[in-house]
Amino acid sequence: MRRTPLFDKHEELGAKMVPFAGYEMPIQYEGIVAEHRAVRGRAGLFDLSHMGEFFFKGRAAGAALDRLVSSDIAGLDVGQARYGLVTNERGTIVDDVIVYRISDAEYMVVVNAANIAKDRAHLLAHLGEDVAFDDRSVGTALVAVQGPRALAILATKTDADVRSLPSFGVTQGRVAGARATMARTGYTGEDGFEVFVANADAAKVWDALLAAGRDAGIKPIGLGARDTLRLEARFSLYGNDIDETTDPIEAGLGWTCKLDKEFTGRDVIAAKKAEGPKRKIAGLVIQGGVARHGHEVTHDDKVVGRVTSGTYGPTVEKNIALAYVPTALSKVGTTLAVRIRGKDVPATVVKTPFYRRVAE
C-alpha cells in the first residue's frame, strides 16, 4: 500500500484512512456531511496525490493527444485545460482526464489513480516516436483547494495572478515558496484550484493553505465528501458511472466528443449518436432509502437498469443516484423504483446536475 507525502498530516488531523487505488487515503476527518458543507459554504483542502500526472512533450504532442482524447485538444491555447475522454476502438471509455497545455509544446494529462498503469499502456501504444512521454505520478503531489473562499485563500499564498485565471485556466508560480502548477479546476461543483507540486513540497503547501484558510473556515476533506460533492454536481466517477462497457453518448458525455475531428473510436461514437443510445444515464431522486452502486432499477416490477452511483446529498438534502435506464424511461419526471433490500422504493428521474452553484 502506498502513502502520499501527506500521510502524516492526515494522521495528525485524525483522519480515518482507507485503501483506495493502491493508496492509503483519508476517507473522512470530522465527518462527511460537515466536510461537504464546508466546501459548499467556505473552503476545503483535499489531498489528491494519488492521481496520475502524465507529461507529453514535443512539437507533435498536441496533435497526438488530439487523436487520443475525445475533446478539442488541438484547440487548447497555452494556459488552458479541458476535460475529455480517452476512448478505445470500440468507442467505449478507457478513462476520463483533464488535459492541461502547460507551455507551447508541453501538456500534462491528469488521470484517475486506479487507471495509471492501464492509461500509460494505452497512450504509449498509440503515441508516435516524436512525442516524449513522462509519467510523474509517483513524484507529484496534488493539493486541491475548493469552495467559495478558495480563491482568497490561495491568493494570499502565491505570487501567481490566480484572480485573473479563468475557469479551466492553468498557470505556474510559487505557492508557499514552492514551485507549483495551479489550475482553476476541480471535482466539487464549486470554484477552486488544483495545485501540483513535487512530493517534497507537499507538506509545506498543505500546511500553508490550511493556516491561510483558518479564519475563512477551511477544513481538510476526505474522499467521502469528495464523492458526495461530485455526485451532487453530477460529475462521472470512473469505475462507477463510466468504464470500458459504457460509451460517451449513453453516459451523457457526448458534449466532450468533438465528432468533426479524428480520434480513437470516433466513428463508433458518431454512429451511436446518430442512431440514438438504447440506454442513458439518468439522475434519480429516491423517496426513501439510499441507493448504492449496483442496486437494481425497476419499472412495473421488472428490472430495467442499475444504479452506478448513489448517496445522500447533504446540500440538496435528498437521496440521489445515477443509473443507466432504457432511453424511453430516462425522461425527467418518469417514475421508476430502486430495489433496496428487496423492496422497490419509488424514484423519480430528475434534471441534473442535482446541485448547481449560484454565481456570487
Partner: protein
C-alpha cells in the same frame, strides 16, 4: 455525557436497552454512531411487529453504507421513534436520548441476562477498537 451510560444494557452488536418495567427502549451506542458516521436514513419496524433477540430489526444508513441493527431483546414493537425517521442525524447527536429507535414490550425479561453490563461493553469496544485500529 458518558459514552457508555451506567443505567443501560448492551449487545455485542452495539445496541443498547433501557428496561423500564415491561417496556424496553432500544437504540445504538455512541461507539456505533461514531463508527457509522453521519446517519442519513433509518428504517424501523412498524408498531405491532415482533422483533427477536439478535435478529435484524432494521437498518441505519450512513452516507457511506447501510448497516443492520439487531434487536438486543425480543418483543412486540409498541412505538417507533418518528422523530428519528424524520431527523436521522439524531442518532449521531443523541444516541441515548432523542436518537432512540424503538420501544418493545419485553417478551422475556430473562433475555436481559444475555446482554453486557456497561463495564463488559466498555472492554468489548476497547477490544474492537484495538483490533480495528490499524
Amino acid at each position: 455525557m458518558s459514552t457508555v451510560p451506567e443505567d443501560l444494557k448492551y449487545s455485542k452488536e452495539h445496541e443498547w436497552v433501557r428496561a423500564d418495567g415491561g417496556v424496553a427502549t432500544i437504540g445504538i451506542t455512541h461507539f456505533a454512531q461514531e463508527q457509522l458516521g453521519d446517519v442519513v436514513f433509518v428504517e424501523l419496524p412498524e408498531k405491532g411487529a415482533t422483533v427477536r433477540q439478535f435478529s435484524s430489526l432494521g437498518v441505519v444508513e450512513s452516507v457511506k453504507a447501510a448497516s443492520d441493527i439487531y434487536a438486543p431483546i425480543s418483543g412486540e414493537v409498541v412505538e417507533r421513534n418518528v422523530k428519528v425517521i424524520e431527523k436521522p442525524e439524531l442518532v449521531n447527536s443523541a444516541p441515548y436520548g432523542d436518537g432512540w429507535l424503538i420501544k418493545v414490550r419485553l417478551a422475556d425479561k430473562g433475555e436481559l441476562t444475555q446482554l453486557l453490563s456497561p463495564n463488559d461493553y466498555r472492554s468489548h469496544i476497547g477490544e474492537t477498537a484495538g483490533a480495528g485500529g490499524d
